[in-house]
């Protein structure tokens, strides 16, 4: 079981996928907050600290890459691990995400272990810094 004190923000406009990630992560013992747009995600960051953000790339209005850029500019977001979620295997989008400050990515649809390993890897990387 993962460290229950870890708090994960899920920014994903696809309701079912968002709900699944919350369910899966809570089942592993994580605390989660799911929101459905980049703006809501940034508003959450105004309110509290998180240990990791799962961020969908393809979103209406504010896309994941721009959201990622704004999180990095946020006072709470400078070193926060950000894992992009993309259904597209478009390499350019992934590269753009890394340029915007992302730390890793997973491709939809992912295996449960892929998601959990990625979260563990990114949160532990911060701890070891």
């Amino acid at each position: 079981m993962a460290d229950a004190s870890k708090h994960i923000l899920i920014i994903e406009d696809e309701v079912d996928a968002n709900l699944f990630m919350e369910t899966a992560l809570q089942a592993e013992g994580y605390a989660t907050k799911g929101v459905f747009s980049g703006h809501e995600g940034l508003a959450q960051l105004d309110r509290q600290d998180f240990d990791l953000i799962l961020l969908d790339i393809m979103m209406q209005e504010l896309d994941g890459i721009e959201t990622c850029r704004r999180i990095r500019a946020h006072e709470r977001g400078a070193t926060l691990p950000i894992c992009m979620i993309t259904a597209s295997v478009d390499v350019e989008k992934v590269v753009a995400s890394f340029q915007a400050g992302a730390n890793g990515y997973i491709v939809k649809p992912f295996e449960l272990d892929e998601l959990l390993n990625k979260i563990r890897e990114l949160t532990e990387r911060v701890e070891s810094l």
């Binding site: 996928a17 699944f20 597209s88 390499v91 990515y105 491709v107 939809k108 649809p109 295996e111 449960l112």
Partner: protein, 390 residues
């Protein structure tokens, strides 16, 4: 004294004695000497008036002497010169006529060319118009092609997104995270998940296919451990082989052997060929994978003990959407583009693929993949996720 032959033109009178006295063999009448050709010894140097000594005598006789032989010679020469000149004039006039003819021809050609030029200008205008139309059509086509690529990429995105919840919840349930399952529920869920994986394969193939179609697929060379890639592929196909009780046999280069190529595409080639070898095998059959690392290339052999391919179908198996008959699609699943993707990827890599098959005994694929060079500027994008995350 000079001796020369000449003709006496005029007799101006001798000084004392007659010529006859000294030369009795010649007529005494001096006048009869005129016009005769005499051999004389020139005494004086003047050209027209010379002193002559004729015959044996010593008397000097004065007359106008002209070297008619010389004159004749000159005349001859003159005549021959005139003949030559006339000949030259003739030749010249012949040449002139020829030149005039050529000039006439040239004028005619020039008139013709002017006419042709006009025609060509008209044609050129037409061609330009045609070109503009072609360019427009090309632009339209490129636009359509881009639209198609984007559409396929969007479709792929749209198809993958719902799979997150479908696959995710299935996996959560199967792991018992959402409560205990009855054996029947578990069995149903496992079948459902197998179908989900097939659906995902189809979507991935469709995306690969659309990229190959659009020519957007690029090689991303990197240096990697052959066994790492091969083991990943083997791990992903082993469950399917186990379901059918197939024996998998491997003959691989020793661990740590490196190769420079497009890692992802090599994995895709191996996955598609192994998936086929499993799919078209008989239950409890055998699949063999042999990889040999040569100095500048990789040789891959994949053999199965399956249904085989009839000789008349061998030529078509790399065609898009080819499956030997439509009942195969139902029996074996798949879109029939797996092998055409393999062929495209192998050729993109500069390699070749060959197939040998016997019906009901099995099929063997031989693939040759030349080693690539890593270009420095390709480093970042080059290794896909493996480098991006490090």
């Amino acid at each position: 004294m000079l001796a020369m032959t000449g003709t006496l033109l005029e007799w101006t009178g001798g000084p004392c004695r007659s010529l006859y006295d000294f030369a009795p063999e010649v007529p005494a009448d001096y006048a009869s000497w005129l016009g005769h050709e005499l051999e004389v010894d020139l005494v004086g140097q003047g050209q027209r008036r010379v002193s002559l000594r004729i015959g044996r005598g010593f008397g000097l006789y004065v007359g106008i002497f002209a070297d008619l032989g010389e004159r004749d010679r000159l005349l001859q020469e003159l005549r021959s010169n005139r003949d030559t000149l006339e000949e030259k004039v003739l030749e010249l006039s012949r040449s002139q006529r020829a030149i005039l003819n050529i000039l006439e021809d040239l004028e005619e050609r020039s008139r013709e060319l002017t006419g042709r030029k006009g025609e060509l200008e008209v044609l050129n205008l037409e061609l330009q118009r045609f070109n503009r139309e072609l360019e427009r059509a090309n632009r339209d086509l490129r636009g359509l092609d881009e639209l198609k690529s984007n559409l396929l990429s969007n479709i792929s995105h749209e198809l993958r997104t719902p799979l997150v919840a479908i696959k995710g919840y299935s996996e959560l349930m199967l792991r018992g995270k959402l409560g205990p399952l009855s054996p029947k529920q578990r069995e149903g869920l496992e079948i459902s998940m197998k179908s989900q994986d097939r659906l995902l394969d189809l979507i991935n193939n469709l995306l690969d296919f659309s990229r190959i179609e659009a020519g957007r697929l690029q090689l991303r060379p990197s240096s990697f451990d052959i066994d790492t890639v091969v083991n990943e592929v083997i791990a992903s196909v082993t469950p399917r082989a186990r379901e059918r009780n197939l024996k998998l046999r491997f003959d691989l280069p020793e661990a740590g052997t490196r190769f420079t190529g497009d890692r992802g595409k090599l994995a895709q080639i191996l996955t598609n060929l192994l998936t086929n070898a499993i799919k078209f095998n008989r239950d409890e059959g055998t699949v063999e994978l042999e990889i040999r690392r040569l100095p500048a290339e990789l040789l891959i052999r994949i053999s199965d003990t399956g249904i085989g391919i009839a000789p008349e179908d061998v030529a078509n198996i790399f065609d898009r959407f080819f499956q030997i008959d439509s009942s195969m699609t139902r029996r074996f699943g798949g879109t029939g583009i797996g092998l055409s993707i393999v062929k495209s990827l192998v050729e993109l890599h500069g390699g070749s693929i060959q197939v040998a098959s016997t019906v009901d005994q099995g099929t063997t694929f031989h693939v040759r993949i030349p080693e690539l060079e890593v270009l420095p500027e390709q480093g970042i994008v080059g290794h896909g996720r493996h480098v991006l995350e490090s």
